[in-house]
């Protein structure tokens, strides 16, 4: 698609003088809105080095990306906040699209309450489930003895989002099994606002967002059987913070890896996954450790070799 | 100006004119002509301009009470303009400008303190094209009363107006139907009923029958004859025969907005003073 037009010296956004390493071509990414900030940040950085490369990033949702783009051979990468589903695998192979999964960061879903809420500091997974399952408890006192007899106000992610999917599976253990009695929203700001407005509110969203709002809401520890663990970069990286830390991926298409500039971009993407400044500070996810990153890089290089 | 003499001479005519029943070959209304006349409307040196073109030129005349006064003259001579001055309908035309005096019961209607809306409530108007509102017959007739907040005995007043306009028998069982569904002649009588329902003192009619067929026209003419018992009627018409048939007084305007002659209808038609009027009446031009 698209004619490559290297001789395009017009615009300031164009190639201008420095041609970097002379890489030239198009790269397209689509998929998860959760991964979108990472992808576009990485793309922005790569673009800075290789002005001849043209990258587009679309936020379509993981599933939309697989169904409409990636498995039809229309994109080079699909970002995903979950692993590829069976149906999507089938779809891909029907179209002859071979893929490789890259772990680009970890997201720690954070359960939050009001800063002033002092009766609760942590919840067990079981208690969390009783709050969010399809037929949930109504008051805090039903969650744990000693909690006040007040109605729970719930704020969570919209049901069409990957965050919702992941939270439901991790906490309730079944796809889509989530209460309907909650304020669903696309805008994490609203969850913060809602929770900071009531002592008896509870909500969840990505760790990234919590980091920017530590003064307004408080994160709960999660007890998965080994005692309560507070969410942090370290606990998430180490896997202690379970089950609410989830890996974020990008899926690379094999055919695309034959192109030098795309393969180079894939390597760059992986290398950036351990970039603490970019992933953690600037975006707010949990970066890979150097070790994890090198492992990913080896696998990727193998995959590129195959292609 | 030369022509002024004519005009002025008309204005200074006696107010008390004895009608001569024997002379009324053309006028069919001899029997109802009253012997004394009191003036309801009087114009004094009236001039009207539309932007820079003058439509009425120094017109002075007195319109007597409870008579039918006809205005005739070729197209564009200012008949409608004069009529529309009387109830200040010309206010609605931005370009129109009026000078001189126009007295209604002795009060200049163009005085600062005259509210044209109040004025129009005492001077009814009927137009060339029947223009009933797209409302029921009843609501058409009641309209004037309603805007004047005189809604007591509404049914009665509506009925009386329709009877007065000789329409009651034809529409009494369809008062709720739209006024637009009537025939042209009926519509025009409805408009007359609408105008008289609010008991005006004067009724102005601008070629009320020119859009109608002969049968409807003759009904309207009969009606006008009737109306003059109670109302002062001022009527503009193109049709000389009609003016002769229905009016007591006739004013002849000629091109340029001059009033060339004004007097008893039978005199004007049988023995016009001015040659130009004679030429006009006998159809030499116009």
């Amino acid at each position: 698609t698209g004619e490559d037009n290297p001789d395009n010296s017009f615009g300031p956004g164009g190639s201008g003088g420095a041609e970097g390493e002379g890489l030239v071509g198009n790269i397209s990414l689509a998929g998860s809105s959760t991964v979108f900030p990472i992808a576009s940040a990485v793309a922005e950085e790569f673009q800075r080095k290789h002005a001849g490369v043209d990258i587009t990033v679309q936020s379509t949702g993981s599933g939309g990306g697989f169904a409409n783009f990636f498995c039809k051979g229309r994109t080079d990468f699909n970002n995903a906040s979950r692993s590829i589903a069976e149906e999507e695998k089938r779809n891909c192979s029907e179209n002859g699209v071979e893929w490789h999964k890259i772990n680009v960061a970890t997201d720690a879903l954070t359960v939050i309450v009001n800063n002033e809420t002092d009766f609760v500091d942590h919840l067990t997974v079981e208690e969390l489930r009783s709050i969010w399952k399809p037929d949930p408890v109504e008051t805090w006192s039903e969650v744990r003895d000693g909690f006040p007899d007040e109605t729970i106000e719930r704020y969570g992610a919209a049901e069409t989002s990957g965050t919702f999917d992941y939270f439901t599976e991790a906490v309730v253990g079944e796809e889509g099994a989530h209460t309907q009695a909650y304020q669903a929203t696309e805008d994490d700001n609203q969850i913060v606002t809602g929770v900071s407005g009531s002592q008896y509110a509870i909500g969840y969203f990505g760790f990234a967002f919590y980091q920017g709002n530590t003064d307004r809401v408080k994160a709960l520890g999660i007890d998965n059987g080994d005692g309560p663990v507070k969410p942090s970069l370290e606990t998430a990286q180490s896997g202690e913070y379970a089950p609410l830390s989830r890996p974020l991926f990008t899926y690379a298409a094999q055919d695309s890896m034959t192109k030098k500039h795309i393969a180079e971009f894939a390597r760059f993407y992986v290398r950036q996954s351990a970039n603490r400044e970019l992933i953690a500070e600037s975006i707010g996810y949990v970066p890979n450790t150097d070790e994890q990153m090198r492992e990913q890089l080896d696998q990727l290089n193998q995959f590129i070799q195959q292609a | 100006m030369n022509d002024d003499t004519t005009t002025t001479s008309v204005a200074t005519d006696d107010q008390l004119i004895e009608t001569d029943p024997g002379m009324g070959g053309l006028s069919e209304r001899e029997e109802s002509t009253p012997v004394t006349e009191s003036t309801v409307i009087e114009s004094r040196h009236l001039n009207v301009w539309y932007n820079d073109t003058q439509a009425i030129r120094d017109v002075s005349m007195e319109i007597p009470e409870n008579q039918v006064t006809a205005m005739i003259g070729p197209s564009g001579c200012g008949k409608s303009t004069f009529l529309r001055c009387i109830n200040r309908m010309n206010d609605l035309i931005d370009a129109a400008r009026v000078e001189g005096e126009l007295l209604f019961n002795g009060k200049d209607v163009y005085d600062e303190d005259v509210d044209p809306v109040a004025l129009r409530r005492r001077i009814g108007m009927v137009f060339q094209q029947p223009n009933p509102f797209p409302k029921s017959i009843y609501d058409n007739v009641a309209y004037g009363l309603r805007v004047q907040d005189r809604t007591d005995n509404l049914d009665e007043r509506v009925e009386r107006a329709l009877k007065r306009a000789a329409l009651w028998d034809e529409v009494s069982d369809q008062l709720d139907e739209s006024g637009l569904e009537l025939s042209g002649g009926q519509q025009q009588r409805l408009c007359i009923a609408r105008a008289i329902a609010a008991d005006p003192e004067v009724i102005l009619m601008d070629e009320p029958a020119s859009a109608l067929d002969p049968v409807a026209t003759s009904k309207i003419e009969d009606l006008i004859d009737d109306l003059s018992e109670e109302y002062t009627v001022v009527i503009v018409t193109h049709n000389m025969q009609q003016a002769a048939r229905i009016s007591d007084k006739t004013a002849v305007f000629l091109t340029g907005g001059e009033l060339v002659e004004f007097g008893n209808t039978n005199e004007i038609f049988e023995n016009p003073e001015s040659d130009r009027v004679e030429d006009y009446i006998t159809g030499k031009f116009g």
């Binding site: 698609t1 698209g2 490559d4 164009g14 587009t56 679309q58 | 107010q15 003036t39 002795g106 109040a118």
Partner: protein, 535 residues
């Protein structure tokens, strides 16, 4: 009994009917007419304040520019409004600046998004020979170059150009291409115009002067702005020559009107003076989000570095395509319905159905057009996701009914007597349409179409549905290239958590979009007011 006497017995007090209700109502209607406009103006005021970052500016800073720039400018406009010739000149000058700038942006975009060398081939091998033939036919009256011949030459030439694209690989540099494709025609046009005025020598001088001046200005602009010399050249050539030529004519022909040319001087002097004063006094000015950097950089996750450049180019490219598609098909359809379609019998019924269908299409929600684009262009035809062409085709269909309906109205307003006259002269239907109907209807058609384009430039929902990306870093390259559009990028910013995006970058985006939109619409309104029938 005189009138006065008779009056004694009568009621001469007309009284007055209470007008309070009426006056109150009149003001109510006036207020209603203004409420929406005022509300929008206030909100846009806030957005502009955010976009221009007036927060940190000191009041004195505003005062200085109020005195040096705003007051003189308003004073000048006030003076112009009262001096007939000057007002005209001022209005035409402003419109030429705006129109020229729009043209320049469109042309620069064309050079950016497309393969200039390809255009060069098509132009040189196709357009030039065909145009030369037509011209020769006109001048020499040669029946051999009648109607189909130039068309055939054009088609063959374009095809040849297309085929040559592969084998030919040496091209003149872009500046020369721009000079050949733009400079020569523009210079010839103005050269001929001045020849008619002031003789052959003057014409040649003007032509050469334009070429030389534009080239020099192009390189000059390139040096200061960082744009390529071609872009500078285009800018110097379109608004530059348009305005300069107009100014020269005014200066020579209109002794009163030429005072209007002082307006730019007033602005320039005011701005420089104001700048000098605030620098001298050390006054803090606004820190605008909407600045050159914003307009020339790609999106970024850092608010300070974020820009709208690729989206602006994407939008302009898409809108240019939409203009072509919707104009061609819209006007074609309108001409068919008004001039060709059967009006009675079964054909008439079919015409009627088409007519009703168009009215209904105008009422279909834009998001549904998105599904149309997704279903037909993306999935059925398989043109591809998120590409410029699909976006342009979808938006074209979206505004097509509006263009058709307004063009029909324009065509209908051409008096029938004109058509009769043409047919009576033995003109064919097409000749009548071409030489009588369309020239008369063009202002109306243009007005309606430009307003419709304004609608298209702000449409977002269908673009979301067809999957246009919110983030791209480069301007689109070609019809099948991926590109974004201003409203898409702005939409993306609306949901970013970073406050700086919401309050600064977003506002800058909104203001950019509105400025482009309003400048498009003002041209439409100018066309309507100045070229309406009978003027």
């Amino acid at each position: 009994m005189t009138a006065a006497e008779s009056a004694e017995s009568r009621d001469t007090e007309f009284g007055s009917v209470s007008q309070v209700k009426g006056v109150a109502f009149e003001y109510l209607t006036l207020a209603a007419s203004l409420v929406g406009i005022v509300a929008l103006a206030v909100l846009l005021g806030y957005v502009s304040a955010d976009a221009l970052g007036v927060g940190p500016a000191e009041p004195a800073w505003f005062l200085v520019f109020l005195l040096t720039l705003v007051v003189p400018a308003i004073g000048f406009v006030w003076y112009a409004a009262r001096t007939p010739g000057v007002a005209d000149v001022l209005e035409r000058l402003v419109v030429r600046v705006i129109g020229g700038a729009e043209l320049a942006v469109a042309l620069v975009v064309l050079f950016i998004v497309s393969d200039v060398q390809f255009w060069f081939l098509l132009y040189t091998v196709g357009v030039v020979p065909a145009a030369a033939l037509v011209l020769y036919g006109r001048v020499a009256d040669d029946p051999r170059v009648e109607f189909p011949v130039p068309l055939v030459v054009l088609v063959v030439g374009l095809l040849a150009g297309y085929l040559l694209k592969g084998p030919v690989d040496t091209f003149p540099i872009d500046v020369l291409i721009a000079l050949w494709m733009l400079g020569v025609p523009v210079a010839s046009y103005f050269g001929l115009r001045w020849r008619a005025r002031a003789g052959t020598v003057a014409g040649v001088l003007v032509g050469l002067g334009i070429l030389a001046g534009a080239t020099a200005a192009g390189f000059g602009l390139a040096a200061v702005s960082g744009l390529g010399p071609e872009a500078g050249f285009v800018v110097a050539l379109t608004p530059g020559v348009l305005v300069a030529s107009y100014a020269a004519e005014v200066a020579l022909d209109e002794p009163v009107g030429r005072r209007g040319l002082l307006f730019p001087v007033v602005l320039l002097v005011g701005a420089l003076l104001g700048q000098a004063v605030v620098t001298a006094l050390g006054l803090a000015g606004p820190e605008p989000w909407l600045d050159a950097q914003f307009l020339t950089s790609a999106p970024s996750r850092f608010a300070e570095q974020a820009g709208l450049y690729p989206a602006i180019i994407g939008s302009v490219f898409i809108i240019s395509l939409v203009a072509v598609f919707s104009f061609v098909f819209g006007v074609g359809c309108a001409v068919y319905l008004e001039e060709y379609a059967p009006q009675s019998g079964y054909g008439g019924m079919a015409t009627n159905v088409v007519q009703v269908n168009i009215a209904n299409l105008a009422g279909v929600p834009s998001v549904v057009y998105g599904l149309l684009g997704l279903g037909i262009f993306v999935n059925l035809i398989g043109l591809g996701f998120g590409i410029v062409l699909v976006a342009a085709m979808t938006l074209s269909l979206l505004i097509l009914p509006i263009v058709i309906i307004s063009s029909q109205e324009a065509i209908r307003s051409v008096p029938d007597s004109q058509r009769q006259a043409a047919y009576g002269m033995g003109a064919t239907r097409w000749q009548t349409v071409k030489s009588v109907v369309i020239p008369e209807a063009v202002p109306g058609i243009l007005t309606g179409s430009i307003l419709a384009l304004g609608r298209a430039i702000g449409e977002t929902a269908p673009l979301i549905i067809i999957g246009l990306p919110t983030t791209v870093f480069n301007a689109p390259t070609g019809l099948f290239g991926k590109g974004s559009a201003m409203p898409m990028t702005i939409y993306g910013w609306a949901f970013l958590p970073d406050e700086a995006f919401r309050e600064g970058v977003l506002a800058a985006g909104v203001v950019t979009l509105m400025v482009i939109l309003l400048s498009i619409n003002s041209v439409a309104i100018y066309v309507r007011n100045n070229y309406q029938r009978g003027s």
